[in-house]
Symmetry: C2
Subunit: 199 residues, 2 copies
Amino acid sequence: MAFFPAALDNLIDRFAALPGVGRKSAQRLAFYVLSLPEQETAAFAEAITAAKRDVRQCRICRNYTDRDVCPICASDRRDRSVICVVSDPKDVLSIERAREYNGLYHVLHGVISPMNHIGPDDIGVKDLLVRAANDEVQEVIMATNPDTEGEATAMYISRLLKPFSIKVTRLAYGIPVGSNLEFADDATLTRALEGRTEI
Amino acid sequence: MAFFPAALDNLIDRFAALPGVGRKSAQRLAFYVLSLPEQETAAFAEAITAAKRDVRQCRICRNYTDRDVCPICASDRRDRSVICVVSDPKDVLSIERAREYNGLYHVLHGVISPMNHIGPDDIGVKDLLVRAANDEVQEVIMATNPDTEGEATAMYISRLLKPFSIKVTRLAYGIPVGSNLEFADDATLTRALEGRTEI
C-alpha cells in the first residue's frame, strides 16, 4: 500500500535523483514544494524548463550562456592571448570573483576519467587545441582541480599543447591564504615548500 | 556583469530557496539539471506541476492524498477508535513502517509555534476536536516530536481533549532500540528511568 499519492512519490523520486540529495532530503524538498502557493510551484517548474531551453554552451569557450558567444569571449576588454582551462562553469565564477584574471576561458565540462568512461573527446579537448593553434594565444593556464583526475587531465592536455609554441602553466599549489599551518595536509605542505619564493 | 545567463541564475535562486539548500548546493543542482537530457528536465518540471495539481489533503485526516478521502481513512480494516496525531505527513509513513499501529491518523501540518506566528487555528486543531467528539473514538495518541514545540502542542491539544471522555496518550520516551547508553543524553536517560517497566 502506497502511503503517498503517486504524484507526490514521483516528485520525491525526481528530487532523490539529484546529486547529493538522499531519500529523506528528497521527501523534505517535495513536502516543501507542496506547501508553496501554486504560483510559486509554477514558477519553479518554469525555471527548470526555461533554463534548459535558454541556456547553451558558448560556441568558443563552452561556458554556459544564453547567446551564441558568451559575454567574456565577446568582450574586447579581455586579453585574448591567455586561455584559462577549467573543468566546470562554476570555476569561471570563482576565478572572476578574484578579479585578478583578465584573459579568456575554456570550460571542459568534466575531466578525463577512465573509471567513468570519460575520454578526451567527451570534454572537447579538440576545441581547445583548435583555439590554441590561433596566433593570438600565448599562454594556456591549466586550472583543473588539484585532485587525481584534475591533475591527470592537466598533464594530458599540456602534453598535447607541447607542439604549439605556447606557454602552458598550472595554478600554484600552497597554503591557502588565511588558513593555519596546523591544518594543512602533508601533500599541500610539501608543494608549498617546493614552491617557496624569496621575500 | 553576470557570469551566468539569467535563466540559469533564476534556476539557482529557485533551488537556493528550498530548505537546507545553500548557494553552492543550489548551483550544483542547477548545473546537474542543465546536464540532463531535455526529456528529463521536462519530466522534472511536470512532476512539480502535477504534484501541486493532484495532491490535496484528505478531508478527514489531512494527510496528503490524491482523492477526497485517503486510503487509510477509507479502509474498513483500520481501527476507527484510535486517532494518532502527528505533525507531518512523513510521520505517518514512519509509523506505518513499524507495522504496529492499525488506527487512524490526524496530520497537523505543523506545530504550535508562537515565535513563528503559528497558532492552533493554523494547524487545524478544531478539525481534530470535531473528530474526537465522534462516539467511536476512544483514544487519541499524541505523536508530535519530542522537542519543545512538539511537546507544547501535545500538551495544548490534550488539555482541549480533557472534556471529552476519551483517553489521551503520548508516545513513550526512552533509549532508542539498538543504541548505546553511552550516547544517550541526560534528558532521554531521565525519561527512560522514570518510565522503567518491570521485566
